[in-house]
């Protein structure tokens, strides 16, 4: 379909629902992703009641749940496990990835490379709707008999093989979500390779595009193994195969009638072969967003742009050979564990290079502390904590004590919550004017930041203490263990911080929807930025640019000596 054909006035459902325009699809992804993030957060806030006050009835809300979930307002362990499994699944696969890749990637990448749209608009639309179906399946699984999946977001077999029907829904949901990511990733790779504006060489690409480019390869190569694994597990559950079931299982005192001969560790290998690159799928777009915002708000080029690009490519390769560091305690031998410990230590180096480059980019700048910059700045130390606390977990000997404790929870949440999520918030504040033509409120934005920043640390910092004390994760009632009792007061602190953090999101929600209608109207370049998206009108029309952009410059030409303005757009002739 040519652009002339569908730039005619389209009916509402073609323009905003089944749209082929990357900007609308990006917005659809972003809004759906944000809603799922809120939903996943609500699941966690429910869990936090049980953890802080085990066995006490949930006030006010307790009566809303059926007897399958809560009895007299007291949460059942089955329901707790459902909340845990679905919190993880929803945050990762339905919240962060769709927002970071589907939302920001879709909206920003074609604009930043000067393309009129993605290479395959119909594939793009299909990718969103397949994701949407996956989301509906996951959401609906709460309402089937015996509830949603309850074997953790990792769905380790054989527990998941023998779990209730919700697990089948989970697997179907995953098949949809992975298919959606695959369709998206192909589209991103082709778009970035083929549709760059004239003059936009690879080393003139904004760092965000590089991050999305590497992410797309990770999605393309890492997700199919999990899709295959999900199908194998479906076969185990529905067709009587035993891929993950060994012979001679006795469940609840009864010998399981299966053919047997399978191996539960096969699932873990397939799962983590996806799920470790997945960690980088969560973090690379966040680094990209932070890099854009730092360059713009320090009014100077990024420090070490090229080493950042090489590092991000290197991370992409290395992320495929670290997966078994999640499995040090599965009976792995010393030699094998030595290999994965070495690769894990190696992958920390490019991450440190990127973080250092971002940190040094601040030096010599003239830093504007607007809301996006506050979130982007906070990303640096938060991701630093998340990255550093990965080191003890990456050393098998230290992992003996820390594995499957709250230390792990603290570690990866520092990476994805005050890390990635803060970067995503930064991105929302930064690109909102481009999407809508209106700015979000700075006052509400700053309230949002200054409440969220301390509270989120109040949630995850105590988890390291609990982890060092040896408290296991995924415990419905930690007070059952003597070794978890001394740190139990921390659970109360964490829960209160979590609920307050929930309240702290209200200014954001008001700001987001309010600014759609009442935000200050802005021109095409409200942040005086250099990259191509700011050369298009706000909001960009169908086809994005009024004239075909040609690129003459590197991405971050800020504060060039002798120039009148402190920024020179990439489209400006030298």
């Amino acid at each position: 379909m040519s652009h002339g054909e569908h730039s005619r006035e389209l009916p509402f459902w073609r323009k905003y629902i089944f749209s082929l325009d990357h900007k609308v699809i990006g917005a659809q992804y972003a809004v759906t992703g944000l809603l799922f993030l809120l939903f996943g957060f609500c699941l966690m806030m429910l869990m936090r009641w049980q953890l802080a006050y085990p066995g006490q009835p949930l006030p006010w809300l307790g009566g809303l749940f059926n007897e399958q979930s809560m009895v007299g307002g007291i949460m059942l362990p089955e329901f707790y496990n459902q909340l845990g499994a679905m919190h993880g699944t929803i945050m990762v696969f339905l919240g962060v990835v769709p927002l970071a890749v589907g939302g920001f990637g879709n909206f920003v990448v074609p604009l930043q490379i000067g393309a009129p749209d993605m290479a395959f608009p119909k594939l793009n639309m299909m990718s969103y709707w397949v994701y949407f179906i996956g989301g509906v399946v996951m959401f609906a699984s709460f309402f089937v008999p015996a509830g949603a999946a309850q074997s953790g977001w990792t769905s380790y077999a054989p527990l998941s093989d023998i779990a209730s029907f919700g697990q089948t829904m989970w697997l179907f949901g995953m098949v949809f979500l992975i298919t959606s990511s695959l369709l998206g990733s192909v589209n991103f790779i082709v778009t970035i390779v083929q549709l760059r504006a004239q003059g936009l060489t690879f080393f003139r690409l904004p760092f965000f595009v590089w991050a999305q480019f590497v992410t797309a390869f990770l999605l393309l190569l890492a997700f199919p193994p999990l899709e295959a694994a999900a199908v194998l597990q479906l076969m185990d559950r529905l067709a009587g195969t035993s891929f993950f079931l060994p012979t001679g299982l006795v469940v609840s005192g009864k010998l399981l009638e299966v053919s047997g001969g399978g191996n539960p560790l096969l699932w873990q290998h397939l799962f983590w072969f996806l799920a470790h690159p997945e960690v980088y799928v969560l973090i690379l777009p966040a680094m990209g967003i932070v890099a854009e915002i730092i360059a713009c708000n320090t009014r100077k080029p990024l420090y070490g742009y090229k080493s950042m690009v090489y590092s991000v490519i290197f991370i992409g390769f290395m992320s495929f050979v670290v997966w078994a560091h999640h499995m040090f305690l599965t009976g792995m031998g010393t030699k094998m564990s030595a290999f994965f410990q070495v690769t894990t230590m190696i992958i920390s180096i490019p991450s440190i290079i990127i973080l250092t480059a971002l940190l040094l980019s601040l030096w010599g700048g003239s830093i504007r502390f607007n809301t996006p910059m506050l979130f982007a700045t906070a990303f640096l130390p938060m991701f630093g904590i998340g990255g550093l606390t990965g080191l003890p977990l990456g050393l098998a000997a230290a992992d003996i004590h820390l594995h499957d404790t709250y230390y792990v929870i603290g570690h990866f949440h520092y990476v994805v919550a005050p890390g990635t999520l803060f970067a995503l918030f930064a991105g929302v504040y930064h690109w909102f004017p481009k999407v809508t033509g209106r700015k979000m409120s700075e006052v509400l934005g700053k309230i949002h930041f200054w409440l969220s920043f301390p509270l989120i640390n109040g949630i995850f910092m105590p988890m390291f203490i609990m982890g060092l004390a040896g408290v296991s994760r995924r415990l419905y009632d930690p007070t059952q263990y003597a070794h978890a009792q001394p740190t139990q007061p921390l659970n109360v602190v964490i829960s209160i911080c979590a609920w307050l953090l929930g309240l702290a999101q209200i200014p954001f929600i008001i700001n987001f929807f309010g600014s759609l209608f009442f935000g200050k109207k802005v021109g095409q370049n409200p942040w005086q930025a250099t990259t191509l998206e700011w050369s298009a009108p706000s909001p960009p029309p169908h086809g994005n640019f009024e004239t075909v952009p040609v690129v003459y410059r590197a991405p971050y030409e800020y504060s060039v000596p002798g120039e009148k303005e402190d920024f020179i757009p990439q489209t400006e002739r030298k």
Binding site: E78, S252, K300, S348, L360
Partner: protein, 263 residues
Amino acid sequence: MEKYYGFGLPVDISTHGAEIDRLIYVIHIFMAVLFMGWLAFLVLTLVKFRARPGHEARHHVEHFKAPTYLEVFVALFEVVLLVGFAFPAFHKTRDVFPNRADALEVRIVAEQFAWNVHYPGADGIFGKTDPKLMGAANPVGLDLGDPLAKDDVTTINQFHVPVNQPVIARLSSKDVIHSFGIPVMRVKQDVVPGQTISSWFEAKKTGNFEIACAQLCGLGHYRMRGFFIVDSEADFKTWLDQMAPKPPAPPATAATTPQGAAA
């Protein structure tokens, strides 16, 4: 009573745990120093280069040498951590098993949601087991017809070991993956159905401690708690003798005869 658990690492009563703890301490000091350095630099930079009237950003910033040295230092330190601490400690717990003759050998059979402990008894040899025989009265599926099984001792959630003697645990699971964790022993080992994984450790102190399941194993995961009781050598012997199946008393012999005749 001595306090075993608190805000730091739990007390360590194992012979190998000190190495693991040392690694944890060293790496946390390293992390703290690195992070505080970063944070100080970040705060300084944010203050020094804040936008204000009369301050302009610089397009060209001199090339910093320090980060390169820092990267090299971090990489070297990671090598030291790996070669000096992590590899040897993991090797010791995984590969250097004690002599079977000197050690107490036990089988631990995990199930939703209990730890079954199987001692070989006086003969030091485990009797035959079979999943088909597993039931409430016979949790490990011991084949009572096997003469080697006659003196075997099984317990549920009561894991007694003697102090100052290495223990080799053969870990297996009946149903799903569990993880056999004893925080005070710095022992944690996933228990995977279909496999037997061996783990060894030696306790230095007597006392009553906990076994905690560390891997989500179902709705009762949170209460899959066992007792790890380290006895003095004499106490352990007394306990094991108490638990040992009594030699068949005369009425019991009478009761088995008709069965034998029927067979």
